[in-house]
């Protein structure tokens, strides 16, 4: 499976350093691969002597059978999700490079009206499946329909948003059709005709480039990372209506109750452009008012670290991070947040990150474009004043 060529190994220890699993050790100046080895290939790629090899199964793929780039559209609150439009932007690039067609998969009840926007943002063709039973997302019915479409039309690439829905659905389909699936990609490109999928791992401490040797190549993609087309076109897409039979008995989970986010300060943050986030450093619930005032000046919404949610100062819907929501707004301002890894993974890919923290050693400074070392109860009021003055002067 993995072998070290004792003749070639020079004992340079490079493999020990690059192994993300800590699986390589040295014995008598020879690399030894331990049980923790996950065959990720980091040592193989970095060995200057070419002494390490992993035996991989040879796989033949008939590339000619699989064509087109698909984006699975997602609708929430009577609107296409931003991530769908972003995926179309990226998908357009990929499809053009491959000389293939960009298609959107649109499923739901009375959703035909969305085809216009999908076309404007880049889709050449739309596979449309409508049925009254498809009004709300259901794992079983959506799995059945999309799996069926994939088998019928043989796409080359299928992309999903890494949303709560996408992350529920994509692995189900992947397992159904025995396909590779790469989660939470932050980069996609074409490498010798194949889809090169880039994603963070180990809490963002390493990046991995991943290839799939099954077709279609499937990935979920982080919201707010890809760019949608800047100026929508007036393209009218071709519509392919796919007839579907939905048996309600096959939909094995039933929604008893749906509560939209509620509570004081509850707003959706997953697609917000500007987020002002607060942490334990706020000190008291009263100081949330400061953040809200700043958010109002900047047209933003409030987010929080977990501590603030645990204290019930803000509802769970505002929690950013590993066990909350992943965000990547154009502007993230974090005040009184230390930057624990669980929080960082949820906001690191934001465009402009400004942080305010008393402690110059707080880890959050490492991801900040602008780091203010100071007391938020002084900095934020001063900032609000300065913004007001700036606006008045214009």
């Amino acid at each position: 499976m993995i072998e070290v060529d004792a003749e070639k190994c020079s004992g340079c220890k490079k493999c020990v350093k690059v192994c993300p699993y800590g699986a390589v050790t040295m014995a008598d100046k020879l690399a030894v691969i331990g049980d923790e080895c996950n065959l990720c290939g980091a040592c193989e790629q970095n060995c200057p002597e070419g002494a390490i090899t992993i035996q991989r199964k040879k796989v033949e793929i008939d590339e000619s059978k699989f064509k087109d780039v698909w984006v699975v559209a997602e609708i929430a609150e009577n609107k296409l999700k931003n991530v769908t439009l972003e995926l179309l932007g990226k998908g357009r690039e990929l499809a053009d490079e491959l000389g293939q067609t960009l298609c959107a998969v649109l499923i739901g009840k009375d959703v035909k009206s969305y085809t216009k926007v999908l076309g404007e943002y880049g889709a050449d063709k739309i596979y449309l499946a409508e049925n009254d039973l498809l009004e709300f997302y259901n794992t079983d019915s959506y799995n059945m329909i999309i799996s069926g479409m994939i088998l019928q039309f043989n796409p080359n690439i299928v992309l999903f948003g890494a949303t709560h829905v996408g992350r529920d659905l994509a692995p189900r389909i992947a397992s159904n059709l025995e396909l590779g699936l790469t989660a939470d990609c932050t980069g996609l490109s074409i490498d010798e005709g194949r889809l090169l999928q880039t994603r963070p791992a180990f809490g963002g401490n390493v990046m991995a480039d991943i290839l799939s040797h099954t077709r279609p190549q499937m990935a979920t993609v982080r919201p707010n990372v890809m760019k949608k087309l800047e100026s929508p076109t007036d393209k009218v897409p071709e519509i392919v209506e796919v007839s579907v039979n939905v048996d309600p008995r096959g939909m094995r989970t039933k929604v008893l109750e749906r509560t939209e986010i509620s509570g004081v300060g509850a707003v959706k943050i997953d697609e917000a452009d500007v987020i002002i986030a607060g942490g334990r450093g706020l000190g008291s619930k009263e100081n949330l008012k400061l953040l809200q005032d700043l958010a109002d000046e900047l047209g933003g919404v409030l987010g929080a670290s977990r501590v603030i949610v645990d204290e019930q100062w803000l509802p769970k819907s505002q929690q950013i991070g590993q066990s909350g929501i992943t965000v990547s707004p154009k502007l993230y301002i974090g005040a009184g947040i230390s930057g624990a890894i669980q929080h960082l993974v949820g906001m690191k890919s934001s465009d402009t990150i400004i942080v305010i923290n008393k402690d110059p050693n707080a880890p959050i400074f490492e991801v900040a474009k602008i780091g203010v070392v100071g007391d938020l109860t002084q900095v934020i009021p001063a900032l609000i004043e300065a913004i007001k003055a700036h606006k008045a002067a214009q």
């Binding site: 397992s175 809490g203 401490n205 480039d209 986010i261 502007l331």
Partner: protein, 261 residues
């Protein structure tokens, strides 16, 4: 009620540091822990068992040292544990992992509920749960914060991007959990750790599982890691330490320049 909980041993990513000079991960001294989401899954399984009777089995796939997370699960109150360990499992991506775990769950016999974490904090993929559910041909609910059992049905609270859903599903089902706000992963007391040593903990290899040997580990993995590297280091940000008024001026300049004002 028969429950199977899936637990993975992961490096504590909060402790992982990057070597400033080489830009590589420093793994030395990084403790291995039970994936926090999985610990909640185990504790939830035990709570359901205490309320409704039954048995909790825990399974983990990993190298021999992954036994530690099973011993801990037994000490927390699980009844039996199985470690799936074999060099043939190495290099498994989520599909091959799900295949292996699903075979083990089937081998354990009938079950009402499979509980797993939403995601493992080393890979963060959140794929193994749904991939197992599909293979086991059972319904799934992900992003779950709680599970109760009423009238022969599971009632599950699921976090969505726009709020909460209360879902209902009949057994057998798979539920992938996130940690609710009030959950603090604890350590079992020493007395329970000692007792846990008497509980059954088996190790199964590829041969014990049967199945198609081509679908284990690297061979059974349709995704290949082409390259692993440290993320490009962002240039050091600008640090402001002036008095608040000065800082505010500079911030306004930047916000205006970037088009936020």
């Amino acid at each position: 009620m028969k429950i199977v909980a899936c637990v993975k041993q992961v490096p504590d990513t909060t402790e992982v540091k990057i070597d400033e000079k080489t830009g590589t991960l420093i793994r030395e001294g990084v403790p291995s822990i039970i994936n926090p989401f999985d610990q909640f899954a185990v504790e939830l399984a035990i709570k359901l068992k205490e309320e409704h009777g039954g048995e909790v089995s825990v399974i983990s796939m990993g190298p021999p040292q992954a036994k530690a997370v099973l011993t801990k699960s037994l000490a927390l109150g699980a009844d039996k544990a199985v470690l799936l360990s074999d060099r043939k499992f190495a290099g498994a991506d989520t599909l091959a992992t799900a295949y292996t775990l699903a075979l083990a769950i089937e081998k354990l016999g009938d079950f009402d509920l499979v509980l797993c974490g939403l995601q493992a904090i080393d890979g963060d993929t959140a794929q193994v749960g749904p991939e197992m559910a599909q293979r086991l041909k059972i319904p799934q609910i992900t992003y779950a914060e709680n599970v109760v059992f009423e009238d022969n049905k599971f009632i599950v609270d699921k976090l969505t991007e726009s709020g909460l859903e209360k879902l209902q599903v009949k057994p057998p089902a798979l539920v992938a959990v996130i940690t609710p706000s009030d959950f603090v992963p604890g350590n079992p007391p020493f007395s329970k750790i000692m007792k846990a040593k008497k509980k059954p903990l088996d190790t199964w290899t590829a041969d014990d599982l049967g199945g198609d040997p081509e679908r284990f580990g690297l061979n059974g993995s349709p995704t290949w890691v082409k390259r692993v590297y440290s993320p490009p280091r962002k240039e050091k940000g600008e640090i402001l330490t002036d008095p608040p008024e000065e800082v505010a001026k500079r911030l306004v300049e930047i916000l205006a320049k970037e088009g936020f004002l």
